[in-house]
Symmetry: C2
Subunit: 298 residues, 2 copies
Amino acid sequence: MRISDLGEFELIKRFRKKIRLNSSVVEGSGDDCAVLKFNKDSYQLFTCDMIVEGVDFYKTDNFSLVGGKALAISISDIAACGGVPKHAVVALGLPKNMQVNQVDLLAKGLFEMAKRFDINIVGGDISASHKLVIDVSVLGEVGKNELCLRRGAKTGDIIMVTGEFGGSIKGKHLKFIPRLKEARFLVGNFKINSMIDVSDGLVQDLGHILEQSSAGAVLYESLIPLSKQAKNSQEALCSGEEFELLFTASRDQASKIIKNTKYRFKVIGEIMPASFGLRLINYKNRYARLKLKGYRHF
Amino acid sequence: MRISDLGEFELIKRFRKKIRLNSSVVEGSGDDCAVLKFNKDSYQLFTCDMIVEGVDFYKTDNFSLVGGKALAISISDIAACGGVPKHAVVALGLPKNMQVNQVDLLAKGLFEMAKRFDINIVGGDISASHKLVIDVSVLGEVGKNELCLRRGAKTGDIIMVTGEFGGSIKGKHLKFIPRLKEARFLVGNFKINSMIDVSDGLVQDLGHILEQSSAGAVLYESLIPLSKQAKNSQEALCSGEEFELLFTASRDQASKIIKNTKYRFKVIGEIMPASFGLRLINYKNRYARLKLKGYRHF
């Protein structure tokens, strides 16, 4: 059997089964970041993301944007857990015939992103590779009372998002700014019950929250914020690499969050009991079947 | 200009120039691990290593050994700094047509290595890739008084090694057990002035110690421990991926280290002033020219 027959999520499950963790780990794999014991008030967050030429970006892309993206993806994961990124190590697999000015552009984008978010690039590794591969691992910190996981959604929670969805592939996936400020604002001022960043697609990532919270949800098609690049709301619901935040909070907290004047968050639905499943109410106010297709590598 | 014209070390220098670090970083890139502030008694160590199919291993290799190697390389880096590995994240770039049983073998080797050294695999990332790529990032801890860097070698220090050298490519590079126990024994019982693990080749890695310590050295060809796989001592001096420890300590400490009955360490030379350069005394007791060729990716 080939891994393309098995699928990405089955493959990940297969790995997870073998994992044994000791008590210094608060949360192992399965969320946006691993959560590790750190000190009295804080946890440490640890995450990695690999991007590959021909899959996550192309030779013809602006390599400064590619370098920025490589780090931004992991910053987005740290944000989704409510934390602050601190340190990164960068592993590069470089084709031998790569132009030095392309590497310089890559470094430029990476270091600019690091500077913007006050992240120390503390080490790395360079290897030869057929295609360009970049893997960035980031260490962050989060106050114990600020930590957001996927599994905390409760029936009656309001589902909210940052930004707009759809058509990320047309450019946003290389140019997005991780929603770190928004995440820190949320965890610093409100009680957020669950949070994730939208990397696989809004519906698919909401699915992760629902699965881990043993919950269902209703989404309102008319409430999904569409970007100019969105084909339509179905596409917006499935579009990967949007890197927006998707989070839930109680009705009371949600009304306060919506009233804030600093950042814009939009309501898109509500958490329901698990038995309800995941349903979409369409523009005609009818339940519509949700095509649960988000991004999968295999 | 292509990166193959520039060379691996020039490329790394080019990156390092752009790095700006804040005060939470004790040591940034340039050693086996980054060293980060942690708590009153300890630092945190952070390192990553990427291995690529066709470069660091081949399709025909036993994938269980490949999985073990991917983690062992980083354990060896943590050992070289005197520390203990704690947590790892694993990024995998997998060809879509890869067999599931090959992935299972890879995971088996990785998890067995993790178990052996009590390391938590706390997260990861899976991407599609043309060739198999594995990047492992490891977090470790080291007592402040146990930390070993490359830059601490002093004139008169005795240069010592673990194990034997030569012909690693014939199998050892996939089967080595990182010298963590030996390193912990050394830093727990003696004053080690500098340490590195031999990944690029004995002479080349000694060169890193000398450069960062502003020192020279004399090596005795007759003292280099040769493995059965070694072609000759010249090959042993340049053989990459030996993953043995190379370290220096004062003459007084060295004599105590040699007398210990728990682990075997061998003297191979002595640290000299920088002006002496790096010289080899051959079997005929004459200075021999050192061919400074170790492994380089470009």
